[in-house]
Amino acid sequence: MPEEFRLILKYADQPGYTPDMECYLRHGGYEALKKALAIQPKTLPDGKTMSGPEQIREDVKVSGLRGRGGAGFSCGLKWSFVDRKSGKPIYLICNADESEPGTFKDRQILHKDPHQMIEGMIISCFANDVKLAYIYIRGEFPEGARILNRALKEAREKNFLGKNILGSGYDLEIHVHRGAGAYICGEETGLIESLEGKRAYPRIKPPYFPAILGLYMCPTIVNNVETLCHVKHVVMMGGAEYAKIGTPNNTGTRIVSVSGQVKKPGYYEVEVGKATMGQLINDFAGGLFEGRKLKAVIPGGSSAKVFKAGEKFKLKKKGPDGKDIEHEVDMLDLPYDFDSLMAAGSMSGSGAIIVMDDSTDIVEALANLSEFYAHESCGQCTPCREGSLWMSKTLHRMTHGQGRKQDADYLLKIADNIPGGRTICAFGEACSWPVQSFVGKFKDEFIAKGEADEAKGEADEAKRAAASSGAGPTAELKIAASPNH
């Protein structure tokens, strides 16, 4: 079994480790920043010179660092899209909105080791010639916002922030901006609108790619908390060295949040791709409760498509002769990395695994998630606003004894008509993927529930209409309480 590999959370949980400056400095803090600021311009063989910031950007490319916020997009490539010729200021925003259900990794960093993130952020700003940056933190983290403000104040006092940082001539200011309870603020263009003081309505791309027309219509970089922490380590060890951690194209470590029906839910930092889904669930997270069997796993935050226990996938692997060999793997044997989960039709998303055992009613579980999406759609696009609500109302009805056997197909039909370019942002995908995968993979249970309700003969149109109105309580999960609580 692979061990935990703690790079980002190296100190966070050590006894006596506190989020203040003195403690961070005692643990080698801000050395990477000093190193970054001291990089000298380099002359290339073709006679051109490469500035310090350019070298850092190159190193981040070499490191293979991929975004930890959801999409897994190459960080170096994202930075290379930034419009540097517009003459407008470039902004950087740290996405600390952590709101994808199942995810609780950024919370650990923000509350326990804020300076690591701030250092990563300052380096990233320096590398991209950013003079003003923001941390967008979700409104439900009031303590996190206070910790960050304190940490930023300490950093200003030490001149890691402010004018002429450590005598380098580089100026930077960072401010904390609080959200107010809307999930859509995690989507980068919604976040930008929110930071401009508006409703968090995502912007349509093209033309509003943040790298070109972002905050105040200026080039903007949005990166996740964990991604920015990694930048510090890339600079500290060098991109090539960093790339040796993890697996090819899936470099570095990743903090995986495991929750749901396991004995030891929690966050586990592992080398990307070195642990399988099964190891994360059964070894790190202690496996299922006694006497229960695995039913379903959501691998990358609630928006990722669910896996059914026992599901098999055909993956391609390079053989000794360099040719692709197809081999079959069980869901639990999938390496937990960006590419394998994508090849298996889902995604590692925000790195959050939600485990459900056989005591869970799958219809109720989906009803719970759909209610989340119906609540959180920003409402700009008709397919998303209406579709997410219809799905939630249908599932509400199904969990209140008023199901019909054709509901499964009805749900699929709605879900199939939301994503695929019909909406402004990826929330359209996020709300339909759970429905498509839950209903697609557990269809018999959805049909059985509808048939059972119809057979009871109680269902009549008036009751059905009442149940679809969404009135009454949210679907209560009738599972036995977890032994832990």
């Binding site: 952590e98 709101s99 259900p101 199942g102 995810t103 609780f104 950024d106 919370r107 003003l132 979700r138 409104g139 439900e140 983290f141 009031p142 303590e143 401010h175 901006h177 609080r178 959200g179 107010a180 309870g181 809307a182 999930y183 929110s194 930071l195 401009e196 003081g197 508006k198 409703r199 968090a200 105040y216 949040s257 929750s259 749901g260 029906q261 839910p265 929690g266 966050y267 609630s302 959050a352 939600i354 459900m356 869970t360 579980a365 719970n368 998630l369 209610e371 989340f372 609540h375 959180e376 009454g472 309580p473 949210t474 209560e476 999960l477 599972i479 309480a481 977890s482 832990n484 609580h485």
Partner: protein, 184 residues
């Protein structure tokens, strides 16, 4: 002070607002106003400060009143609708006072699997509220409100909740009683 407010409202919101300003006295303590003035300097455009203003106002007054909306609009050189549309969009802002202690129980999947519905029910039964209601409910004496909220990003320690700004994890019924006992 009064003059300053007059000036702002005239400049930004026109006569209608001046009238309401006249009849309903709404004033922000000097220290809070100084903090807000400082916040504006964080942004190249004033409008950006509106969410932070709303947080500060709600923290101080307990909710965001119509007068507060107009006051913020005046301060940030916006129309009141620009602020009002934020209050109605962002779930954390409210237009009526809530209980002195606001209990927010996470409703989303991992917490639901960990027993958050039982926890919600426990609070409701203890406080004489309807355990089947989903939205915010406040006790008659105005002391407590209870509501379900979405994922609070601590799914590994389900079920979780907040009481005002304090966060609690792994909340058993016994722990819930303890939390209520501390609400003084």
């Amino acid at each position: 002070m009064v003059f300053a407010r007059w000036f702002w409202t005239v400049k930004a919101t026109g006569w209608r607002c001046i009238r309401s300003d006249f009849y309903m006295s709404f004033s922000v303590p000097a220290q809070l106003e100084a903090e807000l003035n400082e916040l504006v300097t964080h942004y190249p455009q004033k409008r950006s400060a509106s969410l932070m203003f709303l947080h500060a106002i709600q923290e101080h007054f307990g909710y965001v009143s119509k007068e507060a909306i107009e006051w913020i609009a005046g301060k940030l050189e916006l129309q009141p609708i620009n602020v009002y549309e934020l209050v109605t969009f962002y779930p954390m802002f409210r237009q009526e006072p809530a209980g002195k202690f606001q209990i927010k129980v996470c409703r989303t999947l991992s917490c639901a699997l960990g027993g958050s519905h039982k926890l919600h029910k426990h609070f409701c039964e203890k406080l004489g509220l309807d355990s089947h209601a989903h939205g915010v409910q406040t006790t008659k004496d105005g002391k407590y409100s209870v509501e379900f909220v979405e994922c609070l990003a601590s799914c590994g320690t389900a079920p979780v909740m907040m009481c005002n700004e304090d966060f609690y994890e792994g909340v058993s019924n016994a722990k819930a009683d303890e939390i209520l006992g501390r609400c003084k």
